[in-house]
């Protein structure tokens, strides 16, 4: 039984940003990403060490998936029920401490603020495999 519910932000113009980003990943990357998302949903960030890391921007975390490409999708707790939900805000990668997109945590913070105003702009996480 999942411990937490996982959601994706849905941009009013661009749709599900996380899904669009995930679709472009290699098969192996999708598998590793899904493994980490399943771990987060089933066991939460408290049990699994280092699964979420702070980005330096308040309330914005990165899900860490190691690989040839370092996947770092931006995620926040809640934003409503912070102990029971996580919402993916946008997809991102990291190389040599630089994000792609470059200001991913700041973009994610803006998205989170939008989500606080428009809580309906999200959907249950859409798994891409």
């Amino acid at each position: 039984m999942p411990k937490s519910s996982i959601y994706d932000y849905v941009d009013p113009l661009k749709g599900n940003l996380m899904r669009a980003w995930s679709t472009g990943l290699q098969k192996k990357e999708k598998a590793k990403l899904n493994s980490k998302i399943d771990a987060l949903a089933m066991h939460g960030a408290d049990l699994i060490p280092g699964i979420l890391a702070p980005t330096g921007v308040p309330a914005i975390f990165k899900l860490k998936v190691h690989g040839q490409v370092q996947l770092r999708p931006m995620v926040c707790e809640g934003p409503g029920r912070t102990e029971l939900e996580f919402t993916f805000l946008l997809g991102a990668t990291e190389e040599s401490w630089d994000y792609l997109p470059a200001n991913a945590p700041d973009i994610a913070a803006a998205i989170r603020n939008d989500l606080l105003v428009h809580p309906d702009r999200r959907t249950a996480h859409e798994r891409v495999s």
Binding site: K28, A31, S35, K36, L47, I48, G50, I51, R127
Partner: protein, 194 residues
């Protein structure tokens, strides 16, 4: 029925996908157990690192679910520091995923040698009755019918018939992994039914 297995059944038809997924699960499970064991033994990262003959920053890296460069020798050093032993085994995907699904403190904690009742009393090891009980449980574990995470040695109440203290290798009650065999059977039935 396992929700996770339901989700993974179509995805795992692809060999590259299932191995990548399982590798990532393994990273998550090892890092999580190191952290859980360290906390169970009330050690800081610095204290555990010292016992394992490494620096704290190194241990911090090992205690990260995204670390993926495990070596048997490093895991042996950690096992020694915990006063536990290391077991490495090959697993079916179903068994492995069910263990991943049932991950939790209670399934990851282990009894260090000094608290291990099996080795604390000379009476236990000379008891033929205990050896028979223990062997049957260990056989279950070794054959994969019992979760490797679930095996625990727990004190058993005094045996009324003999009036002597007894211990028994016992499975935890059906909280997390007692239903593993049943889950595996269900998964097989559903899988064969399409």
């Amino acid at each position: 029925m396992s929700e996770l297995v339901d989700k993974l059944r179509p995805e795992f038809q692809d060999e590259e996908y299932r191995h990548a997924y399982a590798d990532e699960c393994l990273n998550t499970m090892i890092a999580t157990q190191i952290k859980v064991l360290r906390e169970q033994q009330h050690m800081t990262q610095t204290a555990l690192a010292k016992k394992a003959g490494m620096k704290q920053p190194r241990l911090s890296v090992l205690e990260d679910a995204s670390y993926n460069s495990w070596s048997i020798s490093t895991l042996r050093r950690l096992a020694r520091a915990f006063d536990l032993t290391l077991r490495v085994s090959f697993e079916s995907f179903t068994g492995f995923i069910l263990d991943f699904e049932s991950l939790g403190r209670e399934t990851l904690e282990r009894t260090p040698f000094n608290d291990d009742p099996l080795f604390r009393s000379s009476k236990i090891t000379t008891s033929a009755k205990f050896r028979r009980r223990g062997a049957s449980q260990m056989d279950l574990a070794m054959s994969g019918q019992m979760s490797l995470f679930a095996a625990q040695v727990v004190p058993f109440p005094a045996d009324a018939s003999q009036g002597t203290p007894q211990h028994n290798l016992s499975l935890p009650m059906p909280t997390v992994s007692q239903g593993r065999e049943e889950k595996m059977a269900n998964a097989a039935v559903v899988g064969s039914n399409g």
